[in-house]
Amino acid sequence: MDIILQPWAWYVGGPLIAISLLLYFYFGQNFGASTNFETLCTMAGADRFSDYFKKDWKDRDFALLFVVGLIIGGFISAYFLTPNQTIDLNPKTVTELSDLGFSNIGNQYFPDEIFGDDVVFSLKGFLILLISGVFVGFGTRYAGGCTSGHAITGLSSLQLPSLLAVIGFFIGGIIATWFIIPLLF
């Protein structure tokens, strides 16, 4: 039990993610996460706004079950499996974030400055999360995949569009962390 409750090393994560991909394909489906945003839009009636969403979401019941699994797995992890959320950060990262005004750095998975209750319900905090979400949703559909679909499935099957998408992920991620985060905090 102790091994499960401790943080898992990176060299455990890679193989276990690859095994998840293997099982997903073995079960007869294409590994990815972000097409579910489309499916959820269709279920919510987005086909009234665009033919893009005129799809039969019942064909994607497997993916919706996967999403329900992700949510259940998140609750199980949060409540039973991660008593220790300390993150072993580079001292440089800690100094940098501390200079930006972050507190409790690396003592929990999610910083209070973005995920804290009082921040989330302030206008600025709410908009930061909402607009980030819009970028994630818009970007993944425009690019045709997310970290699972492009970075893992696409790169490992040597697809050029995935390499371009991952380059895009890093352009965006670098702009966000090097320039936008310091502006926001």
Partner: protein, 137 residues
Amino acid sequence: MKNIKFLFLGIFFAIVLSKTQAISWFRFYEMFKFQSFHMYGIIGGAVIISAIFMQLFKSGKIKDINGNRIVPKPKKKGFIRTILGGTFFGLGWGISGACAAPIFVILGFKLAPALILLVGALLGTLIYGVLSKKLPN
């Protein structure tokens, strides 16, 4: 319910992401600032081992549960759509520290912020759907 196995796979995947800290904002921040090897090790390891599986799919040594050949779907092509779409995705990922699958996992850790992220992501998807025919590929 032959698809119930996907529910268990989702639970497993969520636990893997949670336990390896691959849902933590701090882990993605340090990744994009090139200050740690952790996420590169996870993603790089996953890609290398998956590439071996892909070769086994291709040669037919691993078939799916029904005995069919496994062929990953080809990704949509287009320079602008993948680079520009990827950049938008990266912006959202870099600020919030959450990409697609982790948004669902984070619901268990931080319900309200993850719900806002999810509503945003659905809104972004809706915007893409409405504009999809007008955007350059």
